[in-house]
């Protein structure tokens, strides 16, 4: 029987709908995978003493350079420390690094960017020029200078990143704000003579947060990688602190004969990075849809 035109269209629509549903299911799967990875890391950080078989800094020189085995899931390093235990305890340090170096600048950046975007004029120019200077300034110089002043270790890294990290969030927020302030709900609030600050913080910022949160996932990863690079250059956490980047950096001296010291923790960084990015992408899709619906 020749199908009627209606039936053909219905069939096509059905196929498209099924595909859309499957796609959406896929999308949420990846978000949950990301969340899962992050959850594992958080649990590792919280329950480190229960999960790790050994203390992270316990040396056992006789046992150095053991390849991965059941007793040492990731082998031992050059000082005989259990790499797996170090990686587990390092989760604490790296999560702390990620959170502080990402979300403090985010808050600062969003506030400054919102102000710049909303008020415009000289406030905008001032803030944006500051952003330009901060971005154009070689970051490494700043880090080393700060480390030389405050001394080695995490404190210096934090100060340096906080001084610089807000700039991208500010730029992002300002761009969004420029669009947002022409939107209906803002114009409505203005016509109702709500105070400008109230408009910025209660009405605009919640909407502005979306792209920032998405970006913060990538930023989180980059901050962890930054800690690794600084460790590579000898500017990272104080030894023998277990931090993923420091472990990978120290281990790369032995890459040619004890590959597991640097490779396995390196994989951990990659997986965490993937997890965070999946969350970021998942959020982008989810929030994106809702965003379009509300406005």
């Amino acid at each position: 029987m020749i199908a009627t035109r209606q039936e053909v269209v219905l069939a096509q629509v059905g196929r498209l709908q099924r595909r859309a549903r499957a796609d959406r299911r896929w999308a949420s799967w990846t978000l949950w995978i990301g969340v899962g990875i992050l959850a594992v890391v958080a649990l590792a950080a919280i329950f480190a003493p229960l999960i790790a078989p050994a203390a992270p800094n316990a040396q056992n020189l006789a046992d150095a350079f053991q390849p991965p085995s059941w007793g040492h899931l990731m082998g031992t390093d050059n000082l005989g420390r259990d790499v797996f235990s170090r990686v587990v305890y390092a989760a604490r340090v790296d999560l702390q690094i990620g959170v502080i170096m990402t979300y403090v600048p985010l808050v600062t950046g969003v506030v400054l960017g919102a102000i710049a975007g909303y008020f415009g004029g000289w406030v905008d120019t001032l803030i944006m020029r500051l952003v330009d200077v901060v971005i154009a300034f070689p970051f490494l110089v700043l880090v080393i200078a700060i480390l030389a002043v405050v001394g080695p270790g995490l404190k210096g890294m934090y100060i340096a990143v906080l001084a610089v990290g807000w700039s991208l969030y500010a730029r992002l927020t300002r761009a969004e704000m420029l669009v947002l302030r022409e939107q209906q709900f803002v114009l409505a609030a203005e016509s109702l003579a709500f105070s400008r600050w109230r408009i910025i913080f209660r009405h605009a910022v919640p909407n502005l947060l979306r792209p920032n949160i998405v970006f913060s996932m990538a930023d989180f990863v980059l901050n962890i990688l930054l800690a690794a690079s600084l460790s590579f250059l000898g500017l990272g956490v104080r030894p023998p602190t277990a931090e993923w980047g420091a472990i990978v950096a120290e281990g790369q001296n032995f890459l040619l004969n004890a590959w597991w010291i640097t490779t396995l923790p390196g994989l951990v960084i990659v997986i965490v990075g993937i997890g965070l990015s999946l969350i970021g992408d998942g959020l982008a899709e989810r929030l994106g849809e809702r965003f379009r619906l509300t406005v």
Binding site: I135, S229, L233, G245, G273
Partner: protein, 311 residues
């Protein structure tokens, strides 16, 4: 166009002033007198003072700063304390490799990102998309020196295709030597660019005018190329410009592992030796490069989409 350029250049002046001032202040905040470091522990005060005077380092800071700025406008960036030769000479020796490396890395990044990003967006949420996204995520999250060593191990040692390190001689030599380092940086760029491109394209695809074009029966490729790509590229271009800006001063790790005689290593050297003039000069050069990149990307916006207002 001229007006636009002029306008932008005017805006860069305060930025440059800001950068040089910031670096000047910062460098002098850091403890460690380069003369003392150079001459050693108990060099007599007189000797230190004498050398300081010869190198004009004992004048008040504002005077030093203004002298620097004044000289810089004629291209004189001062003289290195450690090497006793003009900073501009030292910088110009090393700027070539850095720029070559970044340009090469950008080329790789863009050439890989365009097809991957477009494919990913077109086949959104299908297996191909997921595969591409997974690969880019992996490239994104890898510590650079780690990736670098793996590449060297595989391609230089085991396969012998590329040299292990160095800059090489002649254009062909440079291309050969820089392939692995450019690949290391380029893969990272690709990952950023693919994500940005994909996301922008998806946004654009769902715009009404694109759906309208599709409904009118335009082929997929025309839809993509004509209408969507242009707009999506703008956001992606921003991502590229921002990343390149960071890489200019930040490619130290790669330069170190691959022994490329670029600006990154010079930067770190000069910080450790407190070689102020070199540090000053480098910061200025970096700032200028970042501004140049931003300017180029703004111009590129205009080329891609003439409708973009160049205000």
């Amino acid at each position: 166009m001229i007006g636009f350029l002029g306008h932008r250049l005017l805006h860069t002046v305060p930025v440059i002033v800001g950068i040089t001032l910031a670096s000047f202040v910062l460098i002098h905040l850091v403890p460690g007198d380069p003369i003392r470091i150079m001459l050693g522990g108990k060099a007599t005060k007189e000797h230190v003072a004498e050398v300081s005077h010869t190198l004009k380092l004992d004048r008040p800071l504002p005077v030093q700063y203004l002298t620097f700025v004044g000289d810089a406008t004629h291209g004189d960036l001062g003289e290195s304390i450690i090497q006793r030769r003009p900073v501009s000479g030292i910088v110009s020796e090393r700027i070539g490799p850095s720029i070559f490396l970044l340009a090469y890395a950008t080329l790789i990044g863009v050439v890989l990102a365009l097809p991957l990003g477009i494919l990913s967006a077109l086949r959104q949420n299908r297996p191909l998309d997921h595969a591409i996204r997974l690969l880019t995520l992996v490239a994104f999250a890898m510590p650079s020196f780690w990736l670098a060593l793996i590449l060297i191990r595989t391609f230089s040692l085991d396969l012998g295709i590329f040299p292990v390190s160095g800059y090489g001689t002649g254009f062909v030599g440079h291309v050969r030597n820089l392939t692995l380092p450019a690949l290391t940086i380029g893969l990272f760029l690709t990952s950023m660019l693919v994500r940005s491109l994909r996301s922008s394209l998806i946004d654009v695809f769902s715009e009404e005018y694109v759906e309208a074009a599709r409904a009118r029966g335009l082929s997929e490729s025309r839809v993509v190329l004509r209408h969507s790509l242009r707009n999506a590229l703008i956001a992606t271009l921003t991502v590229l410009a921002v990343n390149l800006g960071f890489l200019i001063g930040g490619a130290v790790v790669i330069e170190k592992v691959f022994d490329i005689p670029g600006l990154g290593q010079l930067l770190v050297d000069s910080i450790f030796t407190r070689d102020f003039p070199v540090l000053q000069g480098l910061t200025l050069v970096f700032g200028l490069l970042v501004i140049a990149i931003n300017l180029l990307s703004d111009l590129a916006y205009a080329v891609i989409d003439p409708r973009v207002r160049l205000a």
